[in-house]
Structure formats: C-alpha cells, structure tokens
Symmetry: C2
Subunit: 204 residues, 2 copies
Amino acid sequence: MSADPSHPALRRDARLNRERIVEVAHDLFARRGLDVPMAAVARHAGVGMATLYRRFPTKEALVGEVFSHQFDTCVSVVDDALADPDPWRGFVTLVEKVGEMQACDRGFSAAVATAFPADVAAERALGRVTELIDRAKAAGELRADFAVTDLALVLMANDGVTTDSPAATRTASRRLVAYLLNSFRAEHAGVPLPPPAPMSVLPV
Amino acid sequence: MSADPSHPALRRDARLNRERIVEVAHDLFARRGLDVPMAAVARHAGVGMATLYRRFPTKEALVGEVFSHQFDTCVSVVDDALADPDPWRGFVTLVEKVGEMQACDRGFSAAVATAFPADVAAERALGRVTELIDRAKAAGELRADFAVTDLALVLMANDGVTTDSPAATRTASRRLVAYLLNSFRAEHAGVPLPPPAPMSVLPV
C-alpha cells in the first residue's frame, strides 16, 4: 500500500513519520556522528526501511534535511561577520560561532563535509567566507599565508575535541579555537608554516 | 580442550594465535579507531571469541599490547626532549613527534587515553612532560598559561584531522601542530585564553 497524498489522514501520517525520522536522526547524528547506519535510524524512529527510503532516498538527503537549520545559521553567521565593520572581529566571530555550533553537535562538521557542498547556498557562503578572509588579510590583521582550507582544519581539529561531559567539551573547544585564532594573527606570523594539505571540507 | 602450556606444539599455536590477533587488531585500530568490536578482531584473526578472550581478558589488555611499542616510543620521545639543552626546542620536539605518530595511526591517541594511564611508565613519563613544560616556561619561551591538559587538547584536535589520503592527513596534521605551537610561544601570548577544560588524556 503506497501513501496517497490526497488523503488527509495518510498525509498527516507521512508528515509525522518524516518529522519523527528527522528528530531521531538528528539525535543519533549529534551523539554518534554520521556513521550511524540508516537501519539504526529506522529502528529508533519505529519505521520500516521502505518508509525511511521513501522519505529520504539517500543518506545525504536525510543529512541535508537534519542539518538544514544549522546550514541556514552558518550562512547567516557569515553574513553577520561580513556586516561587521572590523575585519578581524568579523573573522573571529565566524570562527568562534561555527566552532560553538560544532562543539554542541558532533554530526554537524561531518554534515558540512558531506551535504553542505552540494547546496547552492553553500557556494554563495563560501564566496563570502573568502571575502571575509581577504578583507582581514588586507587590513593586515590575518596572516597572509592563511589558506581557506585552514578553516576546514579548524573544523576537523575542533571535531576531534570530545570529552565525557558536554560542558567540558565546550570549554575545551573554546580554548582550542582561541589558541588557533591567536596563531592566525598577522602579528604572530613569525615562523613559516608547513604547506596546507590538498583537501576541502568547505567546497573549494 | 584447554591449551597445555607444557606442550611445545600447543605453546607454538598459542603464540602464533597471539601474534596474529595483535597484528590484526593493530591494523583494525589504525584504520578504524578503537571502536572496532572484539568480535571483528576475532573474525579477522580467524580465531574464536573464547581464544581471543583467553589471550586478552579485556579490550584494554588487547589495546595495551597492540600499542605497547608506541607507548615505549612515547616515553623515549619525552626522554629525548628533556635531553635537549634548548627548552623550547625540546618542547617542540615532543609535540611534533607525538603529533606525527598520531597522524600515522588513528587508534594511537585513543589508546593513550584508555590504556596508557594504567601503566607505571606513563606516570614517570608524565612527570617528565611536566618538567619539560616547566623548563620551557622558566626559559620564558612557553606561555605561562599553558596547561598540561593543553597537550591533551593537541592530541584530540590532531585526532580530528583525517582526510581520504594518509599523505594529506599527515600534511594537514603538520600544519595544525605548527599553528598550535606558534600560539604556545610566550611572545605570542597577547590575548587572555579561555580556561582549560577539566579533563585528562594524559593521566593528571
């Protein structure tokens, strides 16, 4: 029996199923990362695999839906950062806010890596991130050898910071981000850095 | 039938089993981290669960055996660092070498967290690490607000750095470690840091 979208009761069931799947998946991704199998999502949501795959044909589609709110927040954080008249403060705001979002949600950075690049909004956001970086460099505040992929490095490093307590994780994450931001200052660019790795977390 | 240690053929079988288990476990831990279940180790090693648990009564025992060589290397890295007459160069050597070991082996930092602290050698090593930190601070080269747990932070952050290619992972890890070391310099300690989190990767 397939769902009939013209039937109100079935439509309502389908919507509730969808909401339940997204909620359960968000909880699982946040606690255990994106490696959680689709079968576990279906089991925890109390739906069959057929229903799960009817709502979300691929895991990427589910990840995209689960993190759509955070993606939107990310884009607005970039906009806010660019709106700041102080180039360095704008850059710091971006790195700190994204770091915070990530420290609260283990699946988020992995989601950025797998689902964000496919999104049109992500390309626009990346253009603005590049603008933010260039502006902070032009102001002589961000070191000239800072690479866009260094933001990916911050995300990955921050993702590695996990402790038994969510509060301790947030504290540790804040300290790591502060150490890195301190090193990104042009005035602290003394010793030459090893080259950046050929990689992209944000689409490059 | 239980193994009779006085019987040469059985002793040899037991030894080969043990070596095979350690080798297989090392490979699995390095590629997938310490979350690999004991059942997967047994399956890949071609032994039964009973044999696996007879050789290694707990997962911690297996982890300890698998990484015993790296633990020894860690301890000797600390000794080498302290033998360096230059306090800052000694500190940098420690952070860089441990970072490299970690970038080559995904299971290693997790092993440090779970198995290393139980070891007597680890306590001695920690005493020497603290000496190395104090010495670099006294020389005015390491920032005064550097905490021992910041080494744990380096390990965790570095552990988060993974890419599809082992070479790119090593490159990215080297750049992250360079950024952090740059921030650890006393001369770059401008802005106050957020406090360290109450945590221990190395035993504190």
